[in-house]
């Protein structure tokens, strides 16, 4: 056990010392997050879809709504409350404004209040929308009276059925999946082949170090590193793009570990049939890039030709990225990622059997 801890410690240390792996596994994903996050941010003028339910239907509220029509950012639609609220819940609308009965009368009593229903808008949208609402109300108040503030509003949050998903939200779990894939393929597949080529494995074989401890050391050290990288990315996502983590941590860690195990075994499988480091590099890249682009890490698969979609259904990367996305963005629990975990487990078993059968120490 002590030997295992030592082995893990040294494997982690060695890993951190290789500058190129630091770049590819730590710096590069963060760069990608930042670049993609900013590039695909909506930078056209925000248009807000606002529904209006006017229960008052007298002069005051009607004038106010007319004022709202003049706001260039608003796309207004009036209608009955049931229809509008259901559209709000389905994210077809950003806000629903409700003017209660007696609104006009209450303006005279300086206590008119309308309600703003929202459902989980992104922070940027919320910020813009609020400043517009405040501005509209302020101007309306100036028109009515110079002294008090007869009109005010109150925000009410409504839970939507559909979670808002921005590109960054979509991309972040994919990026974590990418780290898992590259860790397995590059830091195991290529590194182990390198150790074999440099005779490190043979040298270890003449010591009493049990093979199991060696492999466990490799796997556990990689788990730590991937977890650290994932947290780093989530931190940057939170700070720069306000991505949030909706899921529950045990399920997230479970899926992440399963993903690491399957890709680490895939790495071992690759190193089992690669005699030379160059071969391992070639094979790893040949596996890595299709996985990267055909697993929906960068773009949703729906926009791809059918043949690619079929292919994506076979590769484990798709399932890892999907499972992480379900957990991180939608907050889904264990029961919703069973399929993904099953496929990952199948891949794990397959590459493990292959590795055990064909792994060589020299």
């Amino acid at each position: 056990m002590k030997t295992l801890l030592y082995e893990i410690y040294y494997q982690t240390k060695l890993y951190m010392r290789a500058k190129e792996t630091i770049f590819w596994n730590f710096a590069f994903p963060v760069f990608m997050l930042i670049i993609f996050g900013f590039v695909f941010r909506q930078n056209k003028p925000i248009s807000l879809k606002v529904g209006v339910v006017n229960l008052d239907q007298s002069i005051g509220s009607r004038e106010f709504v007319k004022g709202l029509y003049r706001v260039p950012n608003f796309k207004l639609s009036e209608g009955d409350s049931a229809a509008l609220f259901s559209r709000l819940k389905n994210r077809k609308l950003d806000y629903v404004l409700l003017f209660p009965k007696g609104f006009t009368k209450e303006i005279g009593q300086n206590r008119a209040r309308f309600l703003i229903y929202k459902s989980d808008p992104s922070p940027i949208v919320q910020q813009i929308a609020m400043s517009i609402f405040k501005d509209v109300v302020y101007r309306a108040n100036r028109v009515v009276t110079k002294a008090a503030e007869p009109i005010s509003f109150k925000e009410i949050e409504i839970k939507s059925r559909e979670k808002r998903m921005r590109y960054v939200d979509y991309f972040l779990p994919g990026l974590i999946a990418m780290i898992v894939i590259s860790t397995g393929l590059f830091t195991i597949g290529i590194a182990i082949t390198g150790y074999r080529e440099k005779q490190v494995l043979r040298r270890l074989k003449v010591t009493p170090l049990p093979a199991g401890v060696f492999f466990a050391g490799q796997v556990v050290s990689r788990c730590f590193l991937v977890l650290f990288q994932a947290l780093l990315l989530m931190f940057f996502g939170l700070v720069l793009f306000h991505t949030h983590f909706a899921g529950n941590w045990p399920v997230f860690l479970l899926v992440l570990s399963l993903g690491i195990l399957s890709f680490v075994s895939l790495g071992f499988a690759i190193s089992s049939f690669s005699r030379k480091t160059e071969t391992a590099v070639m094979v790893s890249n040949a596996v890595f890039f299709p996985m990267l682009f055909l697993s929906g890490i960068f773009f949703p698969l729906s926009s791809m030709p059918k043949i690619f979609v079929t292919f994506s259904k076979i590769i484990p990367a798709t399932y890892l990225a999907d499972a992480l996305r379900k957990i991180m963005v939608y907050g889904e629990g264990f029961s919703h990622v069973e399929l993904e975990m099953g496929v990952l487990a199948l891949w794990l078993a397959g590459s493990l059997i292959f590795s055990i059968k064909f792994f060589r120490w020299e």
């Binding site: 002590k2 030997t3 030592y6 082995e7 040294y10 240390k13 060695l14 010392r17 290789a18 390198g194 150790y195 440099k198 005779q199 490190v200 043979r202 040298r203 270890l204 074989k205 003449v206 010591t207 009493p208 170090l209 120490w361 020299e362």
Partner: protein, 340 residues
């Protein structure tokens, strides 16, 4: 069986017979005791790679506290043999015991008591010297302090250097140090000085001798004659996987290469047969235009040779008389030099 045979053959009395039987018994016992004394026993070991016989029915024993050398050209089967002893390869035939444990059935008992330096120095890239030693120390149930190892292989100042930044000689010394971390009973060194400059080679020789003084056994392979001659108590000469000779360097030389060698070079091609008429030659080798005569009476042969050359109009250059070396022993067995 033996009893009756002895009885019928020699017609011995039963009393004498018992004594003889006892005698045989004691000789057998003595042999068994001798067997437990030798730390490495290799009997009828063979290893094939496809059709190639890398090692062919090789038997030898290594005694405790000796430096045992395996000498042979590249591809002779040295590395295959050493790596089988280390447990890296499985023998196709024969039995190998190390300190009483079979390499086939009990490799785990052997690993803690052997120290290994492979032909290529194998380290984790990016690891520092002291870390490499400490990591390896962890693999063994008991180990020497890192400080002691560093001091022994003179790498104290380099303890924080990365392995990749060490010179060839320093890497070699580190590999040697790593082979020592478990204070092994027996040390396997596969070509420990190949590729080193003369100074680094001497340094390694010193290390090996220093280590032997602590009462340990060493098996080393080499294709350097001087190395085997300088270091080894006994030398096993192998070629094409077969044992050619096994003895101390000195007795190999006197037995196989004779007393003195006369060496010379000719300026033109002359067939070997031309010298057949000369007296005093006990053996003759030729390598291109270079000739070696083995003789017990070098002075008389030199006179005869010069006279003969003069008569035949053959020009002789670079003539000298030499004490034979292991190289000559090797040539006498194979007709080839080691570097070929």
């Amino acid at each position: 069986m033996k009893n009756t045979k002895l009885n019928t053959t020699f017609g011995l009395t039963s009393d004498l017979n018992t004594r003889l039987y006892r005698c045989i018994f004691f000789i057998k016992r003595a042999n068994e005791i001798k067997k437990t004394m030798s730390i490495v026993q290799v009997s009828h070991f063979s290893k094939y790679y496809g059709n190639l016989k890398a090692v062919d029915d090789l038997s030898f024993e290594i005694e405790e506290r000796e430096i045992f050398g395996m000498l042979g050209p590249n591809g002779a089967g040295k590395t295959t043999t050493v790596e089988t002893l280390e447990g890296l390869r499985k023998p196709d035939a024969g039995e190998i015991f190390i300190d009483g444990h079979s390499v086939l059935t009990n490799p785990d008992a052997i690993k803690p008591i052997i120290g290994v330096q492979l032909q290529a120095n194998a380290f984790y890239p990016k690891m520092k010297v002291e870390e490499a030693i400490n990591l390896f120390r962890r693999y063994y149930p008991k180990s020497l302090p890192a400080e002691q190892i560093l001091e022994l292989v003179s790498l104290i100042e380099k303890r924080r250097a990365q392995v990749e930044d060490l010179s060839g000689g320093q890497q070699q010394r580190l590999a040697f140090g790593l082979a020592l971390v478990n204070d092994p009973k027996i040390l396997f060194l596969d070509e420990p000085t190949t590729g080193l400059d003369p100074q680094a080679r001497r340094k390694t020789w010193e290390l090996i001798q220093k280590f032997r003084e602590t009462g340990k056994t060493i098996l080393l392979t080499t294709h350097y004659m001087e190395e085997a001659q300088q270091l080894c108590d006994r030398v096993l000469i192998i070629d094409h996987g077969k044992k050619l000779a096994l003895d101390s360097p000195q007795s190999l030389i006197t037995k196989e290469a004779g007393d003195r060698h006369i060496e010379f070079t000719l300026t033109e091609q002359v067939p070997q047969e031309k010298f057949r008429t000369l007296p005093y030659i006990s053996k003759m080798w030729r390598n291109g235009n270079r000739f070696i005569f083995q003789t017990d009476v070098p002075d008389k042969l030199v006179v005869a040779l010069i006279r003969y050359a003069d008569e035949q109009n053959i020009e002789i250059r670079d003539l000298h008389i030499q004490r034979p070396t292991l190289e000559d022993v090797f040539i006498s067995y194979t007709g080839r030099t080691l570097r070929e």
